[in-house]
């Protein structure tokens, strides 16, 4: 039961984008089309899930036994960077159009603070293996949900008559803020 709570909490309440405001860069950068946003979400979810597993393993089997907790950030960066490389190669091989659509934001998943935040948070909260995995997958879903919703709104927005000074990034940030407020409403769901 606790795992379910953690899972839903990671998606809706502690949403990385809308609660912690991490990973805003791809959230704004790749949210112009639903297709690209969804695949970005999937890529991030993949990296997040594997990062959760691998970083947990490194943390618990290598860093803590050797008393090297201070190397968490460095080693997690290593994990994330390698995974992103892998994902990039994979997408480039399997779907060049998707690779084009994601552009610079794909390698930038490396510096996506949501993923780093995930690894560090789960280390900080001393999650056990199952919790870390659930937290990782849930956070990935949360990111996917947020970015897809954002893309859906922005697609509609293309047709709206936005005042000139607000067009582009400005209106996107305003929407992100309103979405964050809306997601705040979920915080009463779980104690």
């Amino acid at each position: 039961m606790e795992l379910v709570t953690l899972f839903i909490g990671a998606i809706l309440i502690n949403n990385f984008v809308l609660h912690y405001f991490l990973g805003i860069c791809p959230f704004l950068g790749v949210s112009k089309k639903i297709d690209a946003a969804l695949s970005m979400g999937v890529a991030v979810t993949f990296v997040m899930s594997i990062t959760a597993v691998v970083s947990w393993a490194i943390n618990h089997w290598i860093l803590i036994p050797f008393g090297l907790d201070y190397l968490q950030i460095v080693s997690f960066i290593l994990v994330i960077a390698s995974l992103v490389q892998l994902v990039e190669m994979f997408i480039r091989k399997t779907s060049p159009p998707l690779y084009q659509a994601m552009g610079i934001y794909l390698p930038l998943i490396t510096t996506n603070c949501a993923i780093m935040g995930l690894a560090l948070l789960s280390a900080l909260k001393n999650y056990d293996f199952a919790e870390a995995v659930v937290f990782g997958v849930g956070s990935g879903f949360g990111f996917t949900l947020a970015i897809t919703l954002m893309a859906a709104i922005r697609e509609q927005l293309e047709l709206a008559d936005v005042p000139k000074p607000f067009r582009g990034a400005a209106i996107a940030l305003i929407i992100a803020g309103i979405m964050a407020l809306a997601f705040f409403g979920f915080s009463g769901m779980i104690k």
Binding site: L71, L78, S82, Q85, R92
Partner: protein, 269 residues
Amino acid sequence: MTNVLVPVLTMTILGLVFSLGLVLAYKKLVVEVDPRVEKINESLPQANCGACGYAGCRAFAEAIVAGKAAPERCPVGGAETVDRISSILGVKTGEVIKRVARLHCRGTNEAAPRRAEYLGLKTCYASHLMGGDKLCTYGCLGLSDCVRSCVFNAMYMGQDGLPVIIEENCTGCGKCVEACPRNLLELHPVSQNILVFCRSEDRGAVARKSCKNACIACGICSRACPDAIVIENNLAVITDHRKIPPEKIPEIEKCPTLAIGRLKKDNEG
């Protein structure tokens, strides 16, 4: 000593493990890149100006190799670049028409009276928002937005308050065209020597009051050359400069306000 050794060794081993994983993955997932893309990319000007319609020179190179874009699309590189690209591709390409930016205003400080002194931000854009300081609301504001936008040193601000275009340096990238809030700059083929040097859509009397060199839509030019010049919204417009026969030029240049005429007088008879 172990204090140092253990973390260093741990990170080294971790790094090695991950890199080994990546190497193995790379062997499986390697993507062959056409070597011509790299070669074409190298022969492009690397201005990344986007004038070709692609996101930078590399994207353009990929489009050329894919057969989606013609090498002539690059206005910056000119004929030389196209030659190099076509030799890489092993195909013949069409002729490149060099296009340069030209100013459609002769509202010099002397010709166009001012209605106010503008003390705001020294950019055309800001001045334009306020309506500008000239009586003519279509003319050049003279605050150098275009000159600043030019990355090829092809423009400078002349003494008379109008930008001067050095056509040898102009690559026709179109940055200045975008920079001008009053749309006074336009790209034309170098060969086109006849231009309308005005964009004022004011009626004749008003236009003349606002600027000595304004087009007053008298129609002398369009009567001389009805196929190529029309009057639209109180302004002479050249629809097709190739249809202007050379013998008609003196007639066109009877323009009472010199708002239409040859750009370079000495070149052609």
